[in-house]
Structure formats: C-alpha cells, structure tokens
Symmetry: D2
Subunit: 281 residues, 4 copies
Amino acid sequence: MKAFCSLVLFFASLSLQAGKVVSDTIRSEILKSDVMYNVYLPDGFGQGEGRYPVVYLLHGFGQDYQAWSRDGLMRILADELIESGEACEMVIVMPNAGGSDTMREWNGYMNMPGWNYEDFFFTEFMPAVERKYRVIGDKQHRAVMGLSMGGGGCTIYCQRHPDMFSSCYAMSAWLGFSGENDYPKGSKPHLVQESMREHSAISFIENADEQTLVRLRTVRWFFDCGDDDFLLDLNVRLHQLMRDRKVKDELRVRDGQHNWEYWHQALRMALPFASRNFGRP
Amino acid sequence: MKAFCSLVLFFASLSLQAGKVVSDTIRSEILKSDVMYNVYLPDGFGQGEGRYPVVYLLHGFGQDYQAWSRDGLMRILADELIESGEACEMVIVMPNAGGSDTMREWNGYMNMPGWNYEDFFFTEFMPAVERKYRVIGDKQHRAVMGLSMGGGGCTIYCQRHPDMFSSCYAMSAWLGFSGENDYPKGSKPHLVQESMREHSAISFIENADEQTLVRLRTVRWFFDCGDDDFLLDLNVRLHQLMRDRKVKDELRVRDGQHNWEYWHQALRMALPFASRNFGRP
Amino acid sequence: MKAFCSLVLFFASLSLQAGKVVSDTIRSEILKSDVMYNVYLPDGFGQGEGRYPVVYLLHGFGQDYQAWSRDGLMRILADELIESGEACEMVIVMPNAGGSDTMREWNGYMNMPGWNYEDFFFTEFMPAVERKYRVIGDKQHRAVMGLSMGGGGCTIYCQRHPDMFSSCYAMSAWLGFSGENDYPKGSKPHLVQESMREHSAISFIENADEQTLVRLRTVRWFFDCGDDDFLLDLNVRLHQLMRDRKVKDELRVRDGQHNWEYWHQALRMALPFASRNFGRP
Amino acid sequence: MKAFCSLVLFFASLSLQAGKVVSDTIRSEILKSDVMYNVYLPDGFGQGEGRYPVVYLLHGFGQDYQAWSRDGLMRILADELIESGEACEMVIVMPNAGGSDTMREWNGYMNMPGWNYEDFFFTEFMPAVERKYRVIGDKQHRAVMGLSMGGGGCTIYCQRHPDMFSSCYAMSAWLGFSGENDYPKGSKPHLVQESMREHSAISFIENADEQTLVRLRTVRWFFDCGDDDFLLDLNVRLHQLMRDRKVKDELRVRDGQHNWEYWHQALRMALPFASRNFGRP
C-alpha cells in the first residue's frame, strides 16, 4: 500500500462528478408574480433519454427557495445517497412560497386572499417544471416533503391530492391552527395562520369519510418531529388519528428542536423513503 | 391536547437559550502575525464560577477558522448534544492555520520554514486562550479533533504531546506524505507537503520505541474516514500499525467522501467521544 | 499486510476477555419466596478493590430474570459498549418479578395483595445485592431501566424513590391502567392490572405537588417507545405531562413494535445514557 | 386520549400477522446426504399468485442452518423492515453447510475432497428451493449474504457466478487463507482452510482479467467488518483491490468484533441493501 497522498489528490477529489443545483424562474398568472425555484439535477442529468422521478422539497415560514440548498446542505447529501444507492437518481424541486426576507411578504402553500398558491402549484408550476426537467410525471414517481410550514404544506397537498403523490415526508410539520390569532388582521402572518386554521391537516382527518380514507391509503406517509419541538403534539395527534382511522403511516420522534440540524438528518431519511416508494403499487 | 400552535410560538422557539460562537484574535510573536480564531461558548458560560473542558477543533487545508461554524453547523450541533446530555458543556476553540483563501497563504499545523505553527500553538495560543476562556486546562479535560489536514494535525499533536490531551478524533485525516512533490519548490503547497513528509503520523508509529508507546496509550484515539475518501488507506494503515503495537484505538469507515456531509456526521460522534473521555484516568 | 487468517485465530477470538452473567438467589421474608436474579459482571470484576456503578434492568410481563440475557443478548452488547467506551464498567442486576412461565404466577413490581414486591426490592433485594457485588451504592451511581411492565416498574420506582436513582430509561413502558379489568377477580393478571391502576405513572405526574416535582427533576428520564406499539399513547402522554410540569425528559419514537428487536436497540442507547449520567450532580 | 392499555392488548399485540420460519430438508445426490435448511416466508406468503425475490443467508463456521433464526433474531428483524418498507417482501433461505456441532463434521461452501458443496448449491439446492417456494428466480431478484465463513461464501459465489446474483453483502467475511495449516492433514478444519486457500477471494480479484471484471461490475457489493475483528485486514484489502480495479463496492467498518451483536446490526443494513438492488439494471 502506498502512503502517497497529496494535495494534488485532494483537489482532484473536489472535481468528482456530482449533481448540481440550478436556479430558475416561472411567471405565474395566478399569483401575478415571478416565482423563483431551485432544482437539483443529479449527476449525468440530460446526457441520455431517461426521465426521472421528482421530489418537491418545501421550505418553512420565514425561509425561501434557497434555504434547502444553502442551510440544509441538500446537494451534497443527495449526491452521497445516490452514490451509495440509498436514494435513486431524482430531480428535486424547491419552489418559493414567499417573497423576501421581510415578514410582510411571506405567504405559505395554501390558497388565501390575494395569494392562491395551491392553485398556482398544481395548475401552473408542476406542469411547467415537469415538462422542462425531464420528469416522469405520474403519481408513482412523484413525492413531496417539507419542513415546518412546508411540512404542513406537503401533508395537506397529499390529503387533498392523494392521486398526485406516492409519498409524503413531513418534518417538524405545522399541521393546523386553532387558537387566537394575535397578529394584526390583514397582515401576512395573520393570513397565514388563518389559512392553517382553514386547511388544518388535523381537521381533515377527523372529518374524512371512508371514500377519502381509501384514497389517503394510496400514499406512504412519514411524520418526523423532535422531542423538544413546539409542534410535537400536533404531529403525534395526527399520527394517532391516522392510525385509528387505518391510514398507515410512520412516526419518528428523534432528539431535537425546530432547526436545521433536525431537518438535515431528516433529509437523510426522507430521500431514501421517497426512493423506495417510487414505482410501488 | 390543544391543537393551538402558532407563528408566535415559532418565533419564541428561536429565542431558546443557546451557545454562541465568538471571533477573537491573538498576536503571535512566533508567527509575526495576528491569528484569528472562533470560540464556541456553551449556554450559560461565564454566569458562574465554573471552569470548562476544552476541545480544539481544527479545520482543513484551504479552509479557515470560520469553516466549522459556517459550513460544519457546529454551533447548533453542539447545542443539541449538550442539551440531550450526549456531550458535556465545553468550550470549543477553532484556530486559524492559514491566512486567506488564496493558495499562497495556507500553511498548516506543523513547524516549517517561516511558519512555526506548532510552537505557536503550544507556547502562545493554548496558554492564552485557556486563561481567557475559563478552561480547566489539564490533560484530563482537553481534547483535540480535526478534519483532513486538521485530522493529521490533531493526530500528530497527540503523538508528540500525549501528556496534553485526553482524546484525539481524526476525521478523514491526512496522515503523511511519501511521494513526489509536484508543487514548485518554495511554494506554500510544497512546504505543506514536505512538512507532512517530515512529520508523518505513519512513520511516527513505525518508529516509536516502547517508552513512547506507553505514553501514546494514555490518549483515546478515534479515526473516522469515508469508504470513498482518497485518504482511506492512510487511515486504515495507521489503525493497523497502532493495533499491532498495542495502542488501542477506534476505527470507523462510514459511507462517504471528503466533504462536509461526512465531517458534520463525524462531529456528532466526536463531541460525545471527547466528553466521555474527559476526566477518565 | 498478511492475508493469513485462520480458524485458529477464529477460536482464539472467541476467548477474548469478556464480562459474564451469573445466576444467583436471594431468600425474601417479605415475599415468603426464593427470588432468582442474574448479574452481569464486567470483565475484570473482582480483580481489584474497585466498586462499580449499578444498573437494575427489569423484564416484562410474561418474562423472567433470564429474559434479558437470553433473548435480549445483553451480555455481548454490554461487553461491546464497555470496550468502545460508550458505556462505563458497571454491574447489571436482573431480578425476577414473577415465578414461572404460567400466567398464574406472574406478579409485577408493585405492592399488591400477597406480593409486596416493591417493599422486597428496596428493603431486602437492593441492600443485599449491593453488598455482595461491590456496588458503589449511592444515587449518583445507580440507574434503573426496563421494558414493558418493567418500563412501568422503573418509572414508578423513580417517581416514588427519586433519591435512589440517577437515571431512568423506560422502554415500551406500561405506565398505567384505567379501563375495565376483564380478567377474573383474584387472578394474577387481574391483580397486576389493578396495581397498575393504583400506581399509574400518569396519575402520579398529574397529581404531583411542587415539592415532588423538585425531587423528580433530580432524575434523568428517558422514554423510548415504538411507533407501532400499543403503548405509544401512554408514553407520549407522560412525556407531555412531564414537559408541561417542567420535569425535563427525553422522548424517542423509533420504528417498531413491542418486541425484542426494539428492546435490543433500546439497550444500545440505555447503557450509554445511564453511564453518562453516573456521577453527574 | 385514553389511558386504557391492558394485558389483553398485550397478548393481542403478540398475534399480529408476521412472517414465519419453516425448516425443510433436501436430499443431495452430490453430497450423499440430507441437507437441512430454514426458510423465512413473509406475512401473506402463498395467499396470492405472487412470486418473491430471494435472499440466500449463509451461516458461519461452527454454526448451522438454525443459527440466523435462533441467534441472529432474523425473523423479527425481517418482519420489522418489511413492515416499515425498508425491505421488500422476500423469501430468505438459510441452508446448512455442515452437519452437527462437532468439529469433524463442519465443511464449508466450497468444493473440497468428499464435499462438493458448491456443485450441490448451484445444481441441486437452488433449483429445488426456488421451484418449491414461489421465487422469481432471476439474477435481478436474487441476493446472497452471509457471515464469517458465509461472508467468504457469498463473496466467492458472486465472484464465480456474477450472472446469478444482483447483490452480495459480506459480514465479517473470511476471504482467504495463505498461512500455515496447523490442523491435522485430512481433518475437516484442515480441508476447510485449504479450500479457502484455493478459492481465496483476494487472489480472485488479483488475477481477474478485464472480461471477468466487467461481469463483476454487474453485482452490487457490500463489505462490513468490525474494527476489532481479526478478519478486518482481509476485508479492507479486498475493498482496496476492487476499488483499484474499478469494481465499485461499499465498505463499512463499524464498532465491534466477530459476534452476533455485529451480525444482527449488519442484517438491519443488509436486507434493505438487497431490497433496493432487486430489479435494478
């Protein structure tokens, strides 16, 4: 064995083939706005004829479309999981659900007055991005995941569109709101909270009829929330409701709070979870 | 159970007590230079009379003293491990072993012509920082760890100063150099490589006499290197040599390459490792 | 490197130094019975003057004192964790809380008519075993853990005797009973269920006054229960109550059911948890 | 939430649907012997028309076909991994490669004088068992794994029959023998060691021509060996040779020795590894 290992090798190792993250924009007529998004493209993307499964990866309140690639180290993690075979090659789409880093421009994933984001997502965004980035584009090869407000977003999207996604991985998910709304009426935080009240994932399950439950059972569900997270009780409650109504899901409570350390570890599990559920009946 | 969970709670959760990272500078007479460093101070630091164990956490070639807190997410991870009890409260010191992001100013942890960093580290830096930051300051409560060039640095520091550290955790460590030096003579990379040839951790063990081995056995050693890392063979070889010479160590080969994903996971194991070896005979 | 590796080496490797599990018996005047127990003694036990921390490791309903060493593979796991330093050297005591493998003889850890096991445990068993097996014998160096009925046992023991234990690790814990008791009155299962109603860990926290809470905060608590375990809700509820009453604990919900796979993995975390809490203030 | 949880529920939970392990026998004309084997059949096996992927799971020297289900807790682990979706539904076949618990009857997986086990395995055993147990029966849905001597067995089987298996997971593998054979000539241990010399997996790679390497690249390889295992060097060396010859593999060195604790954890990774490689091109 040679003990030769040099700085030359070090710099060579940095040029290993790897996926990349590109930024893109779409014009939304529904939102009357340009919407930014990031896309992770796996190593070798576009070199052949192949089409890819797709994951929609949603950011949280107060974050933007760059959060996952900047703070969540998603590119290097996706590369590693694909290299070792724990995740399959996939396109990962990270849309913006807000505007800037000022509070007044944050909006969320649901329809609300002046901001019909859910309509935008399903009728404008998904069709366009799946055409552009060689995505397979059926339920069996589409997953959605997200953190905090995005964890609520992916859960509610799958509740209302279970025919669109094979799996849902919700991290530290904000799943509903039922208290006093202390923000000024008409302010963006006030609107966001009211939209979570209206679209509560908890209420959705409580009120689901048998026909709805049958459709929910076609999605693989995963809830992952820290034992010190202020949202823990909502996640446990949703799991209990789903279990009691016979919609199989996975629940994990790991050590941690509402932060990037937790979400980074969650993504290590979420990409393999989505991968092994791609193509399953 | 209340389903009430709001954005107010979310922002409240961001203000949980937590450790902080501060930047500081020391004037070195040996290096004829100001040397920057970061220090992680645990939550509650300085509020009592208590003194803390200390970890020196070393960056790699081409990085600087900010790398661990910026790219390695060390603060949030240290907070979490301390909160759950997996790591004890400790001060974590991250010194600079270079100058800027230009190649010509990088230098490393060993003494070399014009850059006696090891002398600086042990005679100027450690005494000053341990006075300033309420560190206990004995072998039983001092650990060193690092990545790549810093993994070599911590290993060689413990080989040559085993009476100073209770444990050593080397990540993806660059442990020696024995080939052709392709960089221009006199250039900084050339000097760094030559210093690794001169101070090879491999050679050190090969040549250690029994008296030295006895002293090495007072340190707890941990080597952690990815299966796809170009430095794997050096790490395995050092483990084999130490095992054969009856210096107990731990070896881990996990999935991964030479990147922050690997080092971030390594730090999750390294801080508990250092913690449980503090105070051990 | 030699490629020489032989069956001779294989058999040599089986004779590595290791801890051992011994079976012992104590006569109980309180129970009017001989009580069997197993003790894990770490490698080197009894060769010096040293005294050891102690863990009481409790079996579940329908099991006996041999369950942990037979089905839970505890010896090999304790050896490994001690070897790597993740757990410290300790004595592990596994008492019997029943009689045989027939339903009618199982009894549990609480006092109940004709079976004052809790009295036996604290006034006869602990003093005797700690004298015999070189145990340090103070709160700071004593922990208790257990599975299912034993998870309830260790929790309730720590609730009622918080000055006796530094930490408590409850696995898939049976923490209370509040329904109809369908077993025939006077039968052993009926008595066991009534004792869980009387000594409910849930009720204990609900009813604890501030003075009691202060004492509970001197114990480190850990609850670990599978997402598919029928006891999950009890464990989550106890965590919520403790959190709301400011008694810090850890909660983990991992993948799994009420079985040895879960408990074996739990023990991998429980022994390090107990170890790092030994000696803490 | 109800706090009602009873012994009735406990016993109900024990009757959850689950896979089972059955024992079976095959008459071998080649070995002139009856050969026992165990088969794990997943929950629901045989209720439909479906055919299953198959894993061959090999025991070590000094063990028999019951070892994995008895000491390795494979059934409960397979059930759990299938339930959570980490492993797919599969048939797991555990053949005997020896005779009894006396040394003289142990033989191994290779052909040797009087014991042409490899011939038996590929021409008698596999065809018969795959007919009987509804196995899909092609390379893409067949995997092999094993521990120690069985880790060598699965590696060498895949080296010599790469068109038969999609993946290979070798645990603490005995991969070759190149020293003095200290056992009496003609004794079974002597024969086993000589067969490992003759069929060394190390030599196989060293001597493989390019055409062979191309075929080896159609198998997914995984080597997993403890840092304190006496077989570590062989495993590292095989990884280095395969890497240098561009046959991609995975290497893991975890904490541990040559024992069931290590192999049990290995199986937690091996079944998902085999699963995600079933059906891959």
